[in-house]
């Protein structure tokens, strides 16, 4: 574990530079342990790190660091029960313009990609980027496909995508470089409603093919 200031008002706690179960368990433990702590303004969990924002007029980096150590040494906090969410997806065609490319890259047929993609159970590693974007672990290794070399300017809301070894769903229309293989009508983010959003850290996700291409 390395701890260092990321700014004069935030502390970066890193558990390594790989996506693996041990680092992720530490991330989940620290995040659940610090949610609601009075010293913490915001938490940014990621694959193997947690960024902690605080008010520098009231607290120091040393104080926050002590809080991190105490949290990791204490009993594991009761995390939220993972929920199981099914996401209906229309694959390929206009809904998933990159499905054919993913098939070509992986040496599978488009049907083979869909079959493997929908057979897996994904875990929401964390939620971030721009508004409720779920970073999903659990993509079958044979489906990993590099990102586009030049990101699209406009990825439609609800796009289901593969980016390297990760899967995700775009909660809002935004620029993006992941490979779009399908689309869901499910709204992951509604600006009028109060969080928590549909998908939270630790939730389990399955994709269900809505209709054939």
């Amino acid at each position: 574990m390395t701890i260092r200031p990321a700014s004069d008002r935030s502390l970066h706690v890193s558990f390594g530079d790989r996506i693996d179960a041990a680092s992720y368990a530490a991330v989940a433990r620290l995040t659940h342990g610090l949610l609601g702590a009075r010293e913490v303004l915001n938490l940014h969990p990621a694959y193997a790190s947690v960024l902690i924002d605080f008010d520098p007029r009231r607290y120091t980096h040393e104080r926050i660091e002590a809080l991190v150590h105490a949290c990791l040494a204490g009993p594991p906090p009761a995390g939220q029960e993972p929920r199981h969410v099914e996401i209906a997806v229309k694959f390929g065609g206009e809904s998933g313009p990159d499905l054919e490319d993913v098939a070509r890259h992986t040496g599978l047929s488009p049907e083979g990609v869909i079959e493997r993609f929908t057979a897996a159970v994904y875990e929401v590693y964390f939620v971030g980027f721009s508004t409720c974007f779920p970073y999903l672990g659990g993509l079958p290794a044979e489906l990993a496909t590099p990102r586009l070399s030049a990101p699209r300017k406009h990825v439609p809301e609800g796009s289901v995508a593969i980016g390297g070894p990760q899967a995700g769903v775009y909660p809002l229309a935004s620029p993006g470089g992941w490979r779009l293989i399908g689309h869901t009508p499910l709204r992951l983010f509604d600006p009028q409603s109060v969080p928590p959003p549909l998908l939270r850290m630790g939730d389990r996700v399955r994709f269900v093919a809505e209709a054939s291409r």
């Binding site: 700014s7 970066h12 940014h44 990621a46 790190s49 520098p56 971030g128 974007f133 109060v194 850290m201």
Partner: protein
């Protein structure tokens, strides 16, 4: 409850307070005033709690009509409104306030006694323009209710205004500082037209990074991130909460107000300071504010 009518909306005029905290783990950044110093000062001057909601104007000001007598203060940059800045002023019922194009920096705040009483979303009245959380930019005809955030008498105008400053932006080391050379501190940039509340995009010498591929990690307010094209982006109040680009530096809290006042084509250079220096500079700013 009396209201303020928006007669013309200016370029991008929004309701802001000090932001929405506790939602970054859902990917929602704090938002809030781009120049929080100016918003806090304006609130203190009209006798409000410092987190009261106010109106943020960008580059080109808006026009308003006041339904009842209302104490206001304009803070931040000079938007040619014909009123003294950083000074509580009473607007009379039926009176109109017309702000024009900026004569100095990017943003001017209209703070009103009582605050802007719009409903809060996730605990904050601030508009997150890019996602629509907390509402949308103001339009002609919108009515802004005056709230109940007045907690004491309006203050006298301060004798000296703490200048926003125009030297290099002060930064502390970012998490990937060692992947960059000193070139970062020798390079001169200009603010690009594509900048917004999400990020200030800079144009200038492309920076090389030895960071290579890195895992997506949390990104704080004021982080300088360098994408593959080498052109730095300063993450601003509506920033993404996580990102995968290396970060050589982070703008200090005391200079956030300067970020809020940077305009397209303004020059930017960086100066490295320690965390201790950064905190001392922040303390000086706080000291001035609480002298109001």
């Amino acid at each position: 409850m009396s209201e303020i009518r928006v007669l013309s909306p200016g370029l991008q005029t929004t309701v802001q307070d000090l932001g929405r905290f506790g939602w970054a783990h859902f990917g929602i950044s704090a938002s809030g005033a781009a120049d929080a110093f100016a918003l806090r000062a304006g609130n203190l001057l009209v006798g409000n709690a410092e987190n009261a909601a106010a109106v943020e104007m960008t580059l080109m000001g808006a026009a308003f009509e006041f339904e009842a007598n209302t104490v206001i203060a304009l803070t931040g940059s000079d938007f040619a409104a014909g009123l003294p800045l950083w000074t509580p002023v009473e607007m009379k019922a039926g009176q109109t306030l017309r702000c024009g194009p900026s004569r100095s920096g990017a943003r001017c705040y209209l703070c009103v006694r009582g605050g802007i009483g719009v409903p809060k979303s996730m605990g904050s009245a601030s508009t997150h323009v890019i996602t629509g959380v907390g509402g949308r930019p103001l339009r002609a005809g919108d009515l802004l209710p005056i709230g109940t955030d007045a907690i004491r008498r309006p203050r006298r105008a301060p004798q000296d205004i703490l200048p926003v400053g125009d030297g290099p932006l002060r930064v502390t080391d970012g998490p990937q500082a060692e992947s960059f050379t000193g070139e970062f501190y020798r390079s001169a940039y200009i603010v690009s037209e594509e900048s917004n509340r999400m990020g200030l995009r800079l144009r200038g010498p492309a920076l090389a990074s030895a960071a290579g591929h890195m895992l997506t990690e949390g990104a704080p307010l004021g982080a300088v991130q360098v994408p593959p094209d080498g052109q730095p982006i300063i993450l601003f109040v509506e920033h993404q909460t996580t990102g995968g680009y290396p970060k050589p530096a982070n703008v200090i809290s005391a200079d956030f107000r300067r970020l809020g006042q940077l305009r397209p084509r303004d020059p930017v250079t960086f100066e490295r300071v320690t965390i201790e220096q950064a905190l001392r500079l922040l303390q000086q700013q706080e000291h001035w504010l609480y002298g109001l």
